[in-house]
Amino acid sequence: MDANQNSDSIIQIDEVTKSFGKVKALQGVSLKVKRGEVLVIIGPSGSGKSTLLRCINMLEFPDGGHIVVDGTPVMHKRTNINTVRAEVGMVFQQFNLFPHLTVLENVMLAQKIVRGRGREEAEKIARQQLKHVGIPEKADSYPTQLSGGQQQRVAIARSLAMNPKIMLFDEPTSALDPEMIKEVLDVMVALAKEGMTMVVVSHEMGFARAAANRIVFMDGGRIIEEGTPEGFFNNPREERTKSFLSKIL
């Protein structure tokens, strides 16, 4: 691969395929994400958008193709996937906070055992990140004592504390009550403005309009169309995109 040509791409996905039994989730998807770019992937359920996202940090192992994250070929056998994952934060639909640990400990754990930071440093960074997402006062609560929106913000802080180069969001607001969606989206918009590279699978068109540099529409395990938010929402080219947008907008 030509290094100069791709130097601004932090994620390169090339002809990736993935099947679950007979279901073909990804049928040859290629995609590049630039450093500092905010990419939003939309599409109907079962279109393979979550699978694509989970392939980037190898939570799903693709059947074929190539994926390079920050210069590292993640599907290569010799690659230590843990060092790649430490640089790639992920936020899940179901938050997945560690219920046996306090909020502060949730944000500190991976810092200590993956980054090898000392207790004091990890705590300082954890408190900074909790402030960053707007809930420094919840440091000593347990996850079950928080609302869904607060839990998701802790999950974002937990990822950010690792100082990742990329953040992946897998439908971060889909499990939230409507009145809590905004507080999470606000954090994500702020993060986008700070220049974080973000790949977001979401149904939140408001967020896509406000924060995305580029939108990718997937269906049936393929990328149907991609473009800037204005072009995508105002002048979709493909029939499939038009019918999808007419249903959700």
Binding site: N57, N82, F92, F98, P99, I113, V114
Partner: protein
């Protein structure tokens, strides 16, 4: 009178006519039996004689139970991790062991452990000793070579058998506990860059341990009861001393009443403790 009663009874699945039916009669009866036995021990020479003889076995029963249980927990954790492992050798080894042990009666496992596994194990240690001597580690080698079957008494062999069997049960408890933790926990831990072992150690197992505490407690009661089987090895536990006392005095009634009383007082108080822990954990979540 009858009409009001009927009104109160309405809406209940089993209308009760009086408070008497709600009393835990079973507990009262057990308590009464306990009082009766204690009274007999204090007042009847025959019962006191039996009690003084058999109670010597409590220490052995408790010691064998605790030691075997500790080994079973450690072995069970190791095997349970194997049962959920993706490593083919580890998984198959653990599964083979669990399936074998669960299919053999505990009494047979105890006999097998005492007269097959322990002697073979000692021979292996002797062999290791001569090998070590051969490569120049004469000191350690000689010590290992001198280990003799006489050095392991029957209670040690009994512990080996019980631990072997119960390790398989605890393995299944740990496996179920680990598998009951949502998949997202492992994914979140791994996505933060933790290794599989780190994720297990810091995220999955601490949660799994809380969930398996009640079943582990129940298995402790079970191993306490099964420890009576070691009397076949002539280990002087409660059961063995009860049998001896009966053989010596022909007072079966007193001997076996005392035996049952001793086991029951231990198991009932333990099961109350398990219920208490269960309730406290339930509140925490």
């Amino acid at each position: 009178m009858t009409t009001t009663n009927e009104k109160i009874g309405e809406g209940r699945l089993f209308p009760s006519t009086s408070k008497l039916e709600e009393l835990p009669w079973w507990a009262l009866i057990i308590g009464l039996a306990a009082v009766l036995i204690i009274f007999s021990i204090l007042t009847t020479p025959l019962y006191r004689d039996a009690f003084d003889f058999i109670r010597e076995g409590i220490v052995t029963t408790v010691r064998v139970t605790l030691t075997a249980y500790a080994f079973a927990i450690v072995g069970g954790l190791f095997l349970g991790l194997g049962r959920v492992s993706k490593n083919v050798i580890y998984y198959n080894f653990a599964t083979l062991y669990v399936e074998l042990m669960r299919g053999i009666p505990m009494l047979v496992i105890i006999l097998y452990g005492a007269f097959v596994v322990v002697p073979i194990g000692l021979q292996l240690i002797n062999g290791l000793g001569s090998w070590l001597t051969g490569i120049g580690l004469a000191g350690l080698g000689a010590t290992l070579q001198q280990v003799d079957i006489q050095d392991v008494d029957m209670s040690g062999r009994a512990i080996a058998g019980l631990a072997m069997g119960y390790a398989a049960f605890e393995a299944e408890v740990f496996r179920a506990g680990i598998q009951s933790i949502e998949r997202g926990q492992m994914e979140a831990a791994r996505s933060l860059g933790m290794t599989y072992v780190q994720a297990m150690r810091y995220v999955i197992l601490p949660q799994a341990f809380r969930r398996v505490l009640p079943p582990l407690g129940n298995d402790f009661i079970a191993i306490l009861k099964d420890s009576s089987l070691i009397s076949v090895l002539a280990v002087r536990d409660i059961t063995q001393l009860g049998k001896l006392y009966r053989a010596r005095t022909f007072s079966s009634f007193e001997a076996y009443n005392i035996m049952a009383f001793l086991y029951l007082s231990m198991t009932i108080s333990l099961s109350m403790l398990v219920k208490f822990i269960e309730r406290r954990l339930g509140r925490g979540r």
